[in-house]
Symmetry: C2
């Protein structure tokens, strides 16, 4: 059975799994599953993932796996996206956990509230915006030192972090304040084959 990825194309957490699979040339079937239309809450989907969340991968042997960064790691193990050097690999993990704890809950949440729920940015908790900016500033500090987050080579850390960073402006964050981040976003979009004017590349679903 082909790898199946259930995901929502407006979700960075879902897209990072898709980009990883594409970059590794893995055959997969993408099943568009809208959070806003509550397609993650249907009985059919809940039977696959009782947590009612995307992304969800159904592996070739039929076993399920959730959590975007866990799926990426599983797909990419042994590939050039995971450093062989133990310290670099540890730094990649440091960024992956930081992404879920200190970046996504601010940058992605503000963007979702503003761009998808139509809330005024000014009505949000100030803390969300402050911490989102702090996360972007931390990326800037690193990317002024190295071309990618863990050094000279693109790793899963870059794919995970670029997913919501590249759309941070949709939440009102001013990326022009972060020139090294802006440059890196451009390089990552080229590397991952993302066409900005179209948002995301249309999914090429392969037959199951």
């Amino acid at each position: 059975m082909t790898l199946r990825i259930y995901g929502d194309s407006i979700s960075g957490n879902c897209l990072k799994v898709k980009w990883t699979a594409e970059r590794l040339h893995l055959p997969f079937e993408w099943i568009e599953t809208s959070v806003l239309k509550a397609e993650t809450r249907t009985p059919e989907f809940m039977a696959l993932n009782p947590a009612g969340q995307v992304p969800l991968a159904i592996l070739e042997d039929g076993r399920p796996l959730s959590q975007s960064n866990a799926i990426m790691l599983h797909l990419a193990e042994g590939s050039a996206l995971v450093p062989v050097d133990a310290y670099k690999r540890a730094k990649m993990f440091e960024w992956l956990f930081w992404e879920q704890y200190s970046h996504e809950p601010y940058v992605a949440v503000v963007r979702f509230q503003v761009a998808y729920l139509g809330k005024a940015r000014e009505s949000l908790e100030a803390r969300l915006i402050e911490r989102g900016d702090a996360a972007l500033a931390r990326l800037e500090t690193q990317l002024q030192q190295t071309p990618f987050l863990v050094g000279e080579r693109l790793t899963l850390a870059d794919i995970a972090l670029v997913a919501y960073t590249r759309v941070a402006h949709e939440g009102g964050f001013d990326l022009s304040q972060y020139p090294a981040v802006t440059d890196w976003v451009g390089r990552m979009e080229t590397a991952l084959g993302i066409i900005r004017s179209l948002g995301v590349l249309p999914c090429v679903c392969r037959p199951a």
Copy 2:
């Protein structure tokens, strides 16, 4: 140089790193660093970790590593705490990312606000308590099926999740509602050598 771990003994994120090092019989120096006393914000500490956070590991070669789960993974790589089977390893990662995204921000945050900042539980956002209980319920569901989170063997997922689960009652969560979790907490405390009546074992610091 001996591995150094800067950590605060009231922080589950710090203790899980300590427990991992102890379980692996790694020599290490524990440097008690209090968050409440702002010892993570001194110029000396900020020079080691500009993020001003613990835990922080300074590896044998002097290089720094932060993010509790990234440090645990680095210390435990190749040990029995990380499953060899690729799917089990992926499930371990699923729990580790879930811990930082869906458990710690609720169970640990409520406990910190109530037990350390002295806030009334009723004054907290209801969402924090609801999601904390949802996280505990999810652990219960798994632990009714398998003795440890990833199956028959204790992995890093158990060490990471037990850290704040075992003190959830300090935030007013009623662990007696979750019998399989309570049983697992007891087994984990025994396995990790944690003496409940003393809180945590006194640190045996080894000379640097």
